[in-house]
């Protein structure tokens, strides 16, 4: 066991830190979705120009062949520097790796570089009103018409759809086949009348997510990713990449918030209240447990090629801790934490989504029980 970073990992971190020091993204605008998107696009361009846009991608596609650990370090450093996520985060983390795994040479040539450069933004069309965690229940239909597929249906929770050129779309191509088998995976052009995007205003007042209404959209057959009827397997590739590295970004942010909260408690003296002290101790314990468990999970994958039991626990632990911590902030900061312009008010509200987005805690617990611990399905 060696929990120090290797020479290569230290060099990677140092090089990145140096670059970040010289290329600070500055302060992200608040509230205005378009301004935020423009800011994040500029940031991704800057990363791209210096070869930092997708460190985990192979070199032949413009990445750095970073190890899992280096990729984690990348996100940690981005979090530590207070950098925003790049505009095309779903393209970089999900679409790119899925196309690399399943795409034809032509598809790889066509799509990968614009993902890196943020010229073409991607969104993910998996969830539907009646298919949240249950992807096999997808109802959106795709019907073959000559060289095209004609798609009709509805998608939901599509973040960044209003800025996207492309959508990773899972649709049912064979209504006769059993649930998993009738699905196919498409790369859908968002720039067509048949695709309408309607923002979903969330409890924070922002609209990070959208609904997609698809009415006879046309997708050329050459934009199918993988074979017809193989959509379930291709989608699993996307889902397996869902939190690669990003978790480290989120957990560094969590730690930064906690450090702010401790500083606040020291400043206003509430840290001397044993009840507050206990609660902060709980948050410190959880935050460190999260960091160390995430590292342990990475080591397991790197060494054994597959995740251990710890890998499935971090998203749950992160979301629960962020919710508890932002609630604790109300006790420490006082009622002004609930004033609309107070940053803690935003954090408190936004945290409610954490235990829902990317799989609810309840579904995660089911998965842990059944797939990790081998308990019987009902």
């Amino acid at each position: 066991m060696d929990l120090t970073f290797s020479k290569d990992e230290v060099e990677f971190r140092d090089e990145l830190r140096e670059w970040l020091a010289e290329n600070s993204p500055g302060e992200e605008p608040r509230g205005d979705e378009d301004a935020i998107f423009a800011f994040r696009t500029g940031w991704q361009r800057s990363l791209y120009d210096s070869g930092w846009a997708a460190v985990h991608w192979p070199q032949e596609y413009g990445g750095r062949d970073a190890t899992l650990m280096e990729s984690a370090i990348f996100f940690e450093e981005m979090g530590r520097a207070g950098a925003p996520l790049p505009a095309n985060v779903l393209g970089l983390l999900l679409a790119g790796p899925t196309i690399m795994a399943w795409g034809t040479p032509e598809q790889k040539d066509r799509y990968l570089t614009p993902i890196l450069s943020a010229e073409e933004i991607w969104c993910q069309g998996f969830s539907e009103p009646e298919a949240g965690s249950d992807l096999a229940a997808v109802k959106t239909r795709a019907v073959r018409d000559g060289d095209d597929w004609v798609v009709t249906g509805q998608k939901v929770w599509t973040s960044g759809a209003q800025f996207s050129k492309w959508c990773m779309l899972v649709a049912r191509t064979d209504p006769e086949a059993s649930k998993h088998k009738g699905l196919s995976y498409f790369l859908m052009d968002m720039e067509q009348e048949a695709v309408q995007v309607r923002p979903l205003v969330q409890i924070t007042g922002e609209a990070e997510f959208n609904e997609l209404f698809i009415e006879e959209a046309r997708i050329p057959h050459e934009n199918m990713l993988g074979e017809e009827g193989n959509g379930w397997i291709v989608a699993l590739t996307t889902l397996m990449n869902e939190r690669s590295g990003l978790g480290f970004f989120l957990q560094v942010r969590l730690r930064q918030l906690l450090d702010k909260l401790v500083a606040e408690a020291v400043a206003n003296g509430s840290i001397d209240d044993p009840v507050i002290g206990q609660s902060l101790g709980d948050m410190l314990e959880r935050t460190e447990t999260l960091r160390l468990t995430a590292y342990r999970g990475l080591s397991t994958i790197t060494k054994y090629g597959q995740p251990g039991p710890e890998g499935s626990l971090t998203k749950w632990l992160w979301s629960e801790t962020n919710q508890m911590m932002t609630q604790l902030a109300v006790d420490i900061v006082g009622p002004q934490a609930l004033h609309k312009d107070n940053p803690w008010a935003y954090e408190l509200l936004r945290a409610r989504g954490n235990s829902i987005e990317g799989g609810t805690t309840e579904i995660l617990k089911n998965i842990i029980a059944e797939r990790v611990m081998g308990l019987p399905r009902k």
Binding site: M1, D2, L3, T4, F5, S6, E9, M69, D259, V262, A263, A265, V266, I271, P274, G277, Q278, L280, G281, D282, L284, E285, E288, T289, L292, T293, Y295, R296, L298, S299, T300, K303, P309, E310, L313, W316, L317, E362, L364, K365, N366, I368, A369, E370, V372, M373, G374, L375, P376, R377, K378
Partner: protein, 335 residues
């Protein structure tokens, strides 16, 4: 970074598990506990394998390995709930090695390492594992600032009958005797907390395994109870506690060997987390076993009882959380 044991460390852990799987079955744990005795032959065997002195320097007759290797043995010892003075003797040895003078080390370490004598360790006035039958005890002052090594005969030892019959306990006060440890008593305390955490991780691992097996088999309403989401979610929570405690305990054991600047915080983290996990996971194990879990006949209660004593030993979750907060507050002030 490699957050996993080396092949040698895995081998030590596997060998320990195999041995205890044969030598310390739950039936034997039960009969020893019910007879309020230890099976002497088990301790003899562990001594022959060098377990009590595994982390004591070769210079003093030990194995010269690290706290991490010792922690793997204690984890397996907790998993098997082995009836032996291993935790107490190892903690005592670590403390003398950490904070003792050369004379104290020469006097006590070789005998502790060879198993010729057994030791105990704890905070003055509290409950010490295996103190009554030990030969030497390290007593840490209530404020954690100073330590004293004392021959058991010269200390004030009162046998305690606790809820945990798998181990013997005693309350220790300093009598007239004793010899102050010149070194860092707080580091000695931290090391003992780390290896106790390791034992708790083993206890949790076993309690969880027993629970998973049970809920797969036990049927109600025509289905295994493990297929009910309420039970599944309880099991998932048990896994989160166990694996979280494992991560931080291994980290703390590594810090003890490799980076002492991290030890104070890491050991508080480990003991806080492992104490919470121990209490929660074993309590959940009783609940998931239903009525049978509340009977003397079922074996989960042995694990619950050991977890309670280990969690309270050297301060539980609340004590160590307060420490974490104090460390963070101090760091916050200095930033």
């Amino acid at each position: 970074m490699e957050f996993d044991f080396t092949e040698d460390q895995h081998e030590i852990k596997r060998t320990a598990k195999d041995l205890l799987g044969k030598r310390s079955t739950v039936e034997r744990v039960r009969s020893a506990a019910e007879a309020a005795t230890y099976e002497e032959s088990l301790w003899t065997e562990l001594v022959e394998l060098g377990w009590p002195g595994v982390a004591i320097s070769e210079e003093h007759g030990g194995g010269g390995l690290g706290v991490l290797e010792l922690a793997t043995l204690l984890e397996e010892s907790g998993y098997a709930l082995a009836n032996s003075p291993l935790l107490a003797t190892a903690a005592c040895g670590l403390a003398i090695q950490e904070a003792g003078s050369d004379e104290q080390k020469d006097e006590w370490l070789p005998k502790l390492a060879s198993g010729e004598i057994t030791g105990s360790f704890g905070i003055e006035g509290q409950t010490f594992p295996d103190a009554p039958d030990s030969d030497v005890i390290v007593v840490i002052s209530e404020d954690g600032a100073t330590g004293t090594v004392v021959a058991t005969g010269d200390a004030d030892v009162v046998e305690d009958v606790t809820i945990d019959p798998t181990r013997r306990y005693g309350t220790v006060g300093l009598g007239e005797g004793g010899d102050a440890l010149p070194g860092d008593a707080s580091a000695a305390l931290a090391l003992a907390a780390v290896i106790t955490s390791a034992e708790l991780v083993g206890v949790c691992t076993r309690a969880l395994e027993m629970t998973v097996e049970y809920v797969k088999d036990r049927k109600q309403f025509g289905h295994p109870v493990g297929s009910f989401q309420a039970v599944q979610h309880r099991a998932a929570q048990m896994l989160l506690h166990t694996e979280g405690a494992r991560s931080v305990t291994y980290y703390a054991a590594w810090a003890a060997d490799a980076d002492r600047t991290l030890l104070a915080e890491a050991s508080a983290l480990a003991k806080s987390s492992a104490s919470k996990a121990g209490v929660e996971v074993t309590a959940s194990a009783i609940q998931a076993h239903g009525g049978i879990g509340f009977t003397w006949e079922a074996n989960v209660h042995w694990f619950y009882k050991r977890a309670q004593l280990d969690a309270a030993y050297l301060g539980g979750t609340k004590t160590h959380r307060a420490r974490l907060t104090a460390i963070a507050a101090a760091a916050s002030g200095s930033r």
